[in-house]
Each structure stands twice: as structure tokens, then as C-alpha cells.
């Protein structure tokens, strides 16, 4: 990521870039409903199984960066927007006792798909 960009603190206390660099146009905005795609496993991914198929919302846009799957094989040309995605703990773990607890995880754009809200 471009370290010269000015960081600011948003309401979630997460450092986010003031403006987007590297020509990346984010697909999602804060508040959008998304879920983690169930992508095929081919040799390497950092997309976590525990979050796949669970609906959450975009809590923040972090920065554009390399895609880990590509970077792990020394392909460093492609850059994607990263997001902080927020889930309800109750949606993730069966029997979780507290309604208000949430957990946040970071995902590059390619791990996410939009959820149609009715």
C-alpha cells in the first residue's frame, strides 16, 4: 500500500485512506450487506471458512492492496480494495448467547459478494 497517503480515523477507530489510490474503484460502500463467497480451494487462500456464506456489512474501506492469493505466488500486479466486514457473532456460531456482540474481519474485494436486501 502507498504509505504516503494520509491516514484518518473513522468512527470504528480503523485507519482508512483519505482517498483511493492506484486507480481502484471500490465495489462496496460502508453499510452495504455482503457475504463471504465460497470460492474453490486451489493451493492457497486466506479466506476463512468460518465466515463463508454468512451475511455481514461493510464497516470500513481500508486500502487497496495486492491480492494475497496472487502475492503468495509472486504475482504482484493486481491490486484490489480491502474492506472491514462486520458480522453478528450470533450469525457465526450456533448457540452464541449475546445478541449485540459483533466480530470484524478484513477481506479483499474478491472474497465478497453482494447480498440482495429485500
Amino acid at each position: 500500500m502507498n504509505q504516503s497517503k494520509v491516514m484518518e480515523q473513522n468512527q470504528n477507530n480503523i485507519g482508512v485512506l483519505e482517498e483511493h489510490s492506484l486507480g481502484v474503484k471500490p465495489r462496496f460502500k460502508v453499510g452495504d450487506r455482503v457475504q463471504i463467497r465460497n470460492m474453490p480451494y486451489f493451493f492457497y487462500t486466506r479466506s476463512q471458512m468460518w465466515a463463508r456464506g454468512v451475511q455481514g456489512s461493510i464497516a470500513a474501506l481500508t486500502y487497496p492492496d495486492l491480492v494475497p492469493e496472487d502475492e503468495a505466488f509472486n504475482v504482484d500486479g493486481r491490486v484490489e480494495q480491502y474492506y472491514i466486514v462486520r458480522f453478528r457473532q450470533k450469525d457465526l456460531w450456533p448457540g452464541y448467547p449475546f445478541d449485540n456482540d459483533t466480530i470484524q474481519t478484513e477481506s479483499p474485494e474478491r472474497w465478497l459478494e453482494p447480498v440482495e436486501t429485500k
Partner: protein
């Protein structure tokens, strides 16, 4: 202990590393979709899996662990690999059995050696010869 006895013990240990589910032949073509996905699943993605409780332990790094860490970082600094490639090799490519059985920094140094051989920075025969040389030096001390 004779070499043959030593190798016999090693073979017994290898026998204990067999996974609970395994095919008696390696030519089975009857993998179901879910079984296939389970085999392809990256070993490091352990979040949400059931496990026994783990006792928290305060333990300082040993010298070989610090040496391993610095070696891997220097290799990255010199452009041999990135942190993500190291994670791919050390947390993923070595497979479930080694992932679950090797020490944390043991996986790091395994992946550094494998990377250097894969990328032809060193040859595997050079590595073997050097290993034997250094081991015999320590044994003679």
C-alpha cells in the same frame, strides 16, 4: 543403537502419522465433492474447528527460533520471497500432518529451505551435503 534399529523406530513413528481416514490404495477414483474440498482445504484455516482446550504458556523464543525468523526476514529483504509466499509455503504447502506436528519455526525454516531449492538458489544435493557436514561437525564436538 544400530542404524537398522534406528530406522525401524522411525518407521514405527511414520506408521502413527497415518490419518484416521485414509484410502488403502492410492488409485481410488470415488472421492465425493465434499471429500475433495476437504482435501483441498488449506491446513492453516483452523478457525471454527473443534479442538481440546489449550494451556497458555509463557515461553521465550529459543536461539534457533530467533535465527530462523531473522533468516526468513533477510531472505525477504533480499527479494527471495514475500511474507505471503512464506505463509503459503509454511502454513499450507507442507500439508496437514506436518502443519499440525512441526514446531512453529520448524515450519518456517522448512519453507525457507524448500523455497531456496525450488527457485534454484541452492541445489538439493548442496543442501544435503551441507547438512551432513554441519551435523558431523556438531557430533564430533
Amino acid at each position: 543403537m544400530s542404524l537398522r534399529t534406528e530406522l525401524g523406530h522411525e518407521r514405527e513413528i511414520i506408521g502413527t502419522l497415518q490419518p484416521a481416514t485414509h484410502s488403502p490404495q492410492n488409485w481410488n477414483y470415488e472421492l465425493t465433492g465434499p471429500q475433495y474440498r476437504a482435501y483441498m482445504h488449506p491446513p492453516h484455516d483452523v478457525g471454527g474447528q473443534f479442538d481440546v482446550s489449550i494451556e497458555h504458556e509463557e515461553k521465550e523464543e529459543e536461539q534457533w527460533e530467533l535465527n530462523t525468523y531473522v533468516t526468513c526476514e533477510v531472505l525477504a529483504w533480499r527479494g527471495a520471497w514475500t511474507a505471503e509466499e512464506r505463509r503459503r509455503r509454511a502454513d499450507n504447502d507442507l500439508g496437514y500432518t506436518m502443519y499440525l506436528g512441526m514446531p512453529y519455526y520448524g515450519r518456517w525454516i522448512w519453507s525457507a529451505a524448500k523455497m531456496l531449492v525450488d527457485k534454484k538458489h541452492i541445489t538439493i544435493t548442496e543442501l544435503m551435503d551441507k547438512f551432513v557436514e554441519v551435523k558431523s561437525r556438531y557430533e564430533s564436538e
